[in-house]
């Protein structure tokens, strides 16, 4: 297990920093000299989970690679809000690709660096769930099966948010989007469709696959630095709540990510060569309702006639995650 929570230091490793910990045990984000790879002035919405997740991940990668990172970035929210011509928020070498080919562009950069003999410069590809799980999936799978030396980071907010909240293959069941309206006998996104790309990445037997959320910074940073220790294709899938698309308050972004993890909706784990090596267990078990209720995209499940069966169905999916990934905390651990 790469991440060992520190206990008994008042807040342990739950908070970003901790004055009681020795400096070498503190997080990258706690440092006054962190890279701020994506800088202030970007045009992401108030409380954007993706802007936060991108800084968490890329800063950690920069720390691990001694500042030698080139990033390829798929079209999507992250690209739109960070680089309106001629401004950029990025303080790293950064290439904008098409919506669907960022994995291929990153592969090309990695190949060029190999030819130039620059082993110390590392390549990261990043995109949202649309660019990753839908449009860019062919390029991504190719990058995996060739085991190209790229860390691919997917920021999953469950839809095409900057174009007006359309459904992607990462949109969860029952969620309302512009293309899965809350109308008809089964309102919202349908059950039994979509895909969980971390599991598909694992099926490629690549060296490293992990999931994370913006609610567990220390875990996220540990996973990025673990991934940077490895050569070959690596994939990290980060859940980044979207206040706009989810219909949540801007101040609840981290809280929503925490609820997704604590209810079992989103399993947080890491895997090497197709095998799960560790999971982040649930600390304070909660029913899925706690996660669904604050989100307007699930508003149709509540109200006067609550959709009890739909909620039960979502609970069953969360329970399956808890069983499948062994998310329940063991006694005494």
């Amino acid at each position: 297990m790469s991440f060992q929570p520190v206990k008994f230091y008042q807040t342990g490793t739950f908070t970003v920093g901790n004055r009681l910990l020795p400096p070498e045990e503190r997080s990258v984000q706690a440092s006054a000299r962190r890279f701020n790879s994506i800088n202030s002035g970007h045009r992401a919405c108030q409380g954007c989970g993706e802007a936060l997740g991108a800084r968490y991940a890329i800063d950690a990668a920069m720390e691990a690679a001694d500042g030698q990172i080139i990033a390829a970035n798929a079209t999507g929210c992250l690209e739109v809000f960070s680089t309106p011509y001629p401004e950029t928020s990025w303080q790293i070498p950064w290439i904008h690709s098409l919506f669907g080919n960022t994995a291929a562009v990153a592969t090309g950069v990695a190949a060029a660096l190999k030819v130039k003999g620059k082993r110390d410069v590392r390549v990261v590809a990043q995109g949202g769930d649309g660019g990753t799980t839908d449009i860019g999936f062919g390029c991504l799978s190719g990058m995996f099966e060739r085991n190209d030396d790229v860390l691919y980071i997917c920021y999953d907010n469950g839809g095409y948010m900057n174009t007006g909240v359309q459904r992607s293959s990462a949109t969860p069941p029952a969620a309302r989007t512009a293309t899965t309206m809350a109308v008809g006998p089964e309102p919202g996104n349908v059950f039994g469709q979509g895909k969980f790309v971390p599991a598909i990445a694992m099926a490629h037997d690549i060296p490293y696959v992990a999931t994370a959320t913006v609610a567990d910074l220390r875990d996220l940073e540990a996973k990025v630095s673990r991934a940077m220790e490895i050569r070959g294709a690596r994939y990290i899938h980060i859940l980044v709540p979207c206040p706009l698309g989810w219909g949540t308050a801007s101040h609840d972004t981290i809280r929503m990510a925490r609820l997704a993890k604590e209810t079992g909706i989103f399993p947080v784990f890491e895997a090497e060569h197709g095998e799960i090596k560790s999971v982040l267990t649930i600390r304070r078990p909660l029913p899925v309702e706690e996660y669904l209720r604050p989100q307007k995209r699930y508003a149709h499940l509540f109200g006067k006639n609550p959709a009890v069966e739909t909620i039960a169905h979502i609970q069953a999916l969360a329970d399956r995650n808890i069983r499948k990934y062994r998310l329940q905390a063991r006694r005494g651990s």
């Binding site: 008042q10 202030s40 970007h42 950029t88």
Partner: protein, 540 residues
């Protein structure tokens, strides 16, 4: 600059885009009042001294503590710690053992010989403090700190008041009491023993600029009980005071204590330690109505003391007493039932409360006494200008901690009065309730229990019942503090801001918002563990 084909603009940074203009709410760093501080009768800033203890800097912690209370080792033993009743950690697992950490700091100070920081420059004012109990010691300490000369007149041959003559040794060892009094004397507090003040008016004319009265309440209340000649009916104050003499009081093998307060428990436990086979408390109401603190009742029961609930003593015979059973009426008051019972008893100790001895105030105009207590204003001043009072003689809640608080408050008011100003207490911050916090971030850690002397040993000796923490578990316990309402530099706001709009100012300097870029999303406020950030609406 030559630009590539089709490029007309220089590359720019997004820093040019001041996203702060989007904001409708702005975050603000605040200090809220932790509930432990609210609950402390001595007005200690508990969160502040725990903050230093958390990093293992016990001396800084002790120094912060004694800014408000000069008696931490005593407090750590005899205080009923209302702070722990207020502690927000009880909503997470169990309240922080504040009292045990306080005791650890007090003991550490005694062990290491830490001294108070030197007082302020001398003002030339002299204040007479009557009584060397907790109220008097506290008032004298704070007056000395402010540069006034405080002179304590104590009628007894030893200083400490009820802490010496009322609280049994098993709760407060006398070495501890002496150590903290000695530190005060070294600090500059003058204590004149066996000096009884009979006339306050005279003292004011004898070169004192103000007087603080802290004479306590040590006249036992009596109840009429028909008693045979041979039976011993004693009062609790005399018994506990007698414990400080060379000859312990003779109570016999079967002792009955009449009353339901902490003093009754103290006497019953003392009797057991003196060798009584049976120590029985007779109380007219039920356990939930008993004024004694629950943990003391629990400890007494563990030591083999029995309690007869709903009983009054009708008469005391030669070797037994007659007890009448009571029943609670609709309003919860005990009413006689006419059922009687005899209990063997060699002596009966009355623990029915105490009154203050107010004889020294007879010639003082303007004083108001109600229900045996001196009436004081918000600054502890009596109706006679320049005469202040505190402790048991001025309050209905009679504990060491309340007395220490009275002493501090009075000292501040005396200081203002000596300068010809009016005492105005500082405005209080809003309370850091658990709803204003985010307890998710605190590590799970159950409370450390202090070792309790095993039952057999404590039945027969006057050794301390509660042990102390050692350095390891004191540190652990201190770190359970959630720092409610006060930034403890966890870096959460700095880390969780999606716009890098929080500036870290370095250790001890906390943080600042960069309002050029803060969009006002409020994540920092929601994710602040201790509730030290508030969102306020922007005006336009």
């Amino acid at each position: 600059m030559d630009k590539p084909f089709a490029i007309t603009l220089d590359p720019g940074s997004s820093l040019a885009n001041h996203t702060g203009s989007w904001r409708t709410f702005r975050p603000e760093y605040v200090d809220r009042l932790p509930p432990c501080n609210v609950a402390c009768p001595a007005g200690e800033n508990i969160q502040a001294w725990l903050f230093h203890a958390e990093s293992g800097d016990y001396e800084a912690a002790w120094r912060s503590l004694v800014e408000n209370n000069p008696l931490p080792a005593i407090m750590g033993r005899v205080c009923y710690h209302p702070c722990e009743g207020g502690c927000n950690r009880q909503h997470v697992d169990a309240a922080v053992g504040i009292n045990s950490v306080e005791r650890f700091l007090g003991d550490e100070a005694n062990k290491q010989g830490w001294k108070f920081a030197p007082p302020a420059a001398a003002t030339g004012k002299r204040v007479l403090v009557v009584g060397s109990g907790p109220a008097g010691l506290s008032a004298a300490y704070h007056l000395t700190r402010m540069g006034h000369q405080a002179v304590i007149h104590e009628a007894a041959p030893l200083a400490g008041g009820m802490m010496r003559f009322g609280i049994p040794k098993y709760r407060l060892p006398r070495e501890v009491l002496d150590a903290e009094i000695n530190r005060l004397v070294e600090f500059g507090v003058e204590i004149q023993l066996q000096t009884k003040v009979d006339d306050v008016q005279q003292a004011l004319q004898d070169g004192f600029d103000a007087v603080f009265l802290g004479v306590g309440a040590h006249i036992a209340k009596r109840a009429y009980i028909p008693a045979g000649d041979a039976n011993k009916v004693l009062d609790a104050v005399a018994v506990l005071r007698g414990m400080e003499d060379h000859h312990a009081p003779l109570l016999g093998r079967k002792v009955v204590v009449y009353g339901g307060g902490n003093t009754a428990i103290d006497v019953a436990r003392t009797a057991k330690r003196l060798g009584a086979e049976e120590s029985i408390i007779v109380y007219r109401r039920t356990r939930d109505k008993m004024p004694a603190h629950d943990f003391e009742v629990e400890e007494a029961l563990q030591e083999g003391i029995s309690i007869k609930w709903l009983s009054t003593i009708k008469e005391a015979g030669e070797s037994d007493i007659m007890v009448e059973k009571m029943a609670l009426d609709d309003k919860g008051f005990p009413q006689p039932t006419g059922e009687f019972e005899r209990i063997e008893a060699d002596s009966v100790v009355l623990a029915l409360g105490q009154d203050a001895d107010l004889a020294l105030l007879e010639n003082l105009p303007g004083l108001i006494v109600e229900g045996g207590m001196i009436q004081v204003d918000g600054g502890m001043m009596t109706g006679h200008p320049g005469v202040f009072a505190g402790g048991d003689m001025a309050g209905s809640e009679r504990t060491v901690t309340v007395a220490v608080g009275h002493g501090k408050k009075a000292a501040r008011a005396i200081d203002a009065w000596l300068r010809g100003a009016a005492y105005a207490p500082a405005e209080k911050h809003e309370v850091a309730t658990i709803e204003r916090m985010n307890p998710w971030y605190y590590s799970d850690a159950p409370k450390t229990m202090r070792p309790v002397l095993d039952i057999i040993r404590r039945q027969s000796t006057f050794e301390e019942v509660l042990g102390g923490l050692d350095e390891n578990n004191a540190l652990f316990e201190a770190r359970r503090c959630m720092s409610c309402g006060n930034c403890f530099e966890c870096d959460n706001c700095y880390g969780v801001c999606p716009d890098n709009a929080v500036i870290k100012l370095g250790p001890g300097k906390r943080f600042r918002f960069n309002f050029d870029y803060c969009k006002g999303c409020g994540i920092c406020a929601t994710e602040c563990p201790c509730g030290a950030i508030r969102m306020v609406a922007e005006e336009n």
